[in-house]
């Protein structure tokens, strides 16, 4: 019976945390002074101002235009390889530790290589973002594919499905819950990758702006950029969560059933 009031309570507590965070921020800026840590309201003003003037909007547009293609390529390549390696036991076994190994390298150390290969512009950011994001999709897809119930594949074979039909109508729906988790992680990592690349060497974008503001001790701009980065990260994450909940009606059902007990 507590079901109906539960989401409301959860939302209320979440709201409380946000208020608490803003309060802490205000206290912090009172303690350290406005120049070191400007208060929330003045940052809000800078964000709106920067957006109107165009520099903040332009940087955001540049970053998004790099993140989106990087994410899409990572999603397609990661899912494709994950399916292939998940189905081919031997290649999966051969490559999985190697993929996990590459994944564990601090990738920023490889950025100079990307700069040499793709130059200073957009291409190197997209490539580096892709490199960050492709692994979780590949790993999640491969794991999920190799654990798809063998009886589904037998059904597909006895019904004489084409490889394309088996992939689209059996494999992908079967791994969709895991795949959406992988894609959510991939987006976060792609976003991190692109921002890191912009901070390291670039001429535009939120990462570039952040670096420029930080190196001139412009805490107003620095925090304004951080607010935008946080908004993009939290917003897309919420979007992916909503999709995850939609694609696994069974899990939502189970969750409700356990709550009732």
């Amino acid at each position: 019976m507590q079901n109906a009031s539960r989401p409301v309570a959860v939302a209320a507590i979440r709201g409380l945390f946000v208020v608490l965070l803003l309060a802490l921020w205000s206290v912090g800026s009172a303690v350290y002074g406005d120049t070191v840590l400007p208060p929330p309201l003045s940052i809000a003003a800078t964000v709106i101002h920067g957006w109107r003037e165009g520099w903040l909007m332009h940087a955001t547009a540049v970053t998004i235009s790099e993140v989106v293609p990087a994410f899409l390529i990572a999603a397609i390549v990661g899912t494709g390889f994950g399916l292939l390696l998940g189905l081919r036991d031997v290649w999966g076994d051969v490559l999985e530790p190697m993929i996990l190994g590459v994944y564990s390298i601090p990738k920023i150390t490889l950025y100079p290589v990307f700069l040499v290969l793709f130059k200073l512009g957009m291409a190197s950011k997209v490539a580096f973002g892709f490199f960050h994001g492709v692994f979780p999709v590949e790993i999640m897809t491969q794991r999920a594919t190799s654990t798809v119930s063998p009886v589904y594949l037998k059904v597909a074979r006895t019904m004489r499905l084409t490889p394309w039909q088996t992939t689209v109508h059996v494999l992908l729906p079967a791994i969709l819950p895991a795949l959406t988790v992988g894609l959510r992680l991939a987006f976060s990592l792609t976003f991190i990758g692109v921002t890191l690349a912009e901070m390291s060497a670039s001429r535009a974008g939120l990462g570039f702006l952040l670096n420029a503001a930080d190196s001139t001790f412009d805490s107003q701009r620095t925090l304004a950029v951080i607010v935008i980065l946080a908004a993009i990260g939290i917003g897309t994450n919420a979007l992916f969560y909503a999709v995850e909940r939609r694609v696994s009606p069974a899990r939502a059902e189970v969750r409700q059933a356990t709550l009732k007990m």
């Binding site: 009886v151 059904v155 019904m159 004489r160 069974a250």
Partner: protein, 259 residues
């Protein structure tokens, strides 16, 4: 459609330096068109392997399978398979699960509807079209799997211990329903089971396999009147059961325990 097994053998290569394992040896019998044949044997006798070979999912090491006059080398569109494991797709509703095969064959939704509704009615799931598998019991999910094969109008139905995971009562009820469906469709049924009662309840002929290697030990004709419950004709029922028990090796096992 008649099913002919011509001295079918299956040898698995021994893993990790072990000797090759002969799972099936010289299996030969015929399932007449429209006949209900059960293959009975202890676990490990290769009965599921035999079913996979007939389904075209696996190839025999020697011998051949004929479906009508045609040699089986890959899955046939005349043959449907119901597996023991839950094979319903959790992301599809009952109706969409049942219509899956037709959809894959390119039949449009409007044209599938009638066949899907009829198959759902045959398995007694009318009213559950919009449900998802996780909202159904194990028995109902197996009915969905059966309806999914019925909708394709198979000439031959291969069933691999389809009710193995169900409790005894549900198993009996769903078995009687399968007989009704068999009557209504006239298809040939090849039914693998390890349950003597189930074999007696369902099949016209019961092929008993021995274990390691799987060989045809005996073939029983079953002429008991339906419904085959012990109380109908206790003597004939007991005789058939005793014969099956003997063939499967349960009598000797019991004597050994006694001694």
């Amino acid at each position: 459609m008649q099913l002919t097994l011509k001295s079918v053998s299956k040898v698995f290569p021994g893993g990790a330096g072990g000797a090759p394992v002969t799972a099936l040896e010289d299996i030969a019998f015929t399932v007449a068109s429209g006949e209900f044949v059960a293959v009975l044997g202890p676990s490990g006798c290769g009965k599921s392997t035999l079913l996979e070979i007939i389904a075209g999912l696996s190839s025999p090491s020697a011998g051949e399978i004929l479906l009508g006059d045609e040699l089986v080398s890959s899955p046939s569109s005349h043959v449907s398979v119901v597996f023991q494991e839950d094979s319903t797709f959790p992301w599809r509703t009952v109706a969409d699960n049942v219509g899956f095969g037709l959809q894959m064959r390119g039949v449009r939704k409007a044209e599938r509807e009638h066949a899907v509704a009829r198959a759902i009615e045959l398995v007694g799931l009318s009213g559950f079209e919009g449900r998802y598998p996780h909202q159904l019991s194990g028995g109902m999910r197996q009915r969905v799997a059966i309806a999914r094969t019925l909708v394709l109008n198979p000439a031959v139905m291969l069933m691999d211990e389809p009710f193995g995971a169900l409790d005894e009562q549900t198993r009996f009820v769903i078995g009687e329903e399968l007989l009704r469906i068999w009557d209504a469709t006239g298809c040939t049924i090849f039914f693998v089971t390890h349950s003597l009662h189930e074999a007696v309840q369902l099949a016209d002929r019961i092929v008993v396999l021995s274990a390691r290697p799987g060989r045809v030990k005996r073939i029983f004709e079953n002429h008991l009147p339906r419904p085959r419950v012990e109380t109908e004709d206790p003597r004939a029922y007991a005789e058939l059961m005793a014969g099956l028990r003997d063939a499967i090796g349960l009598t000797q096992a019991a004597t050994r325990v006694k001694a």
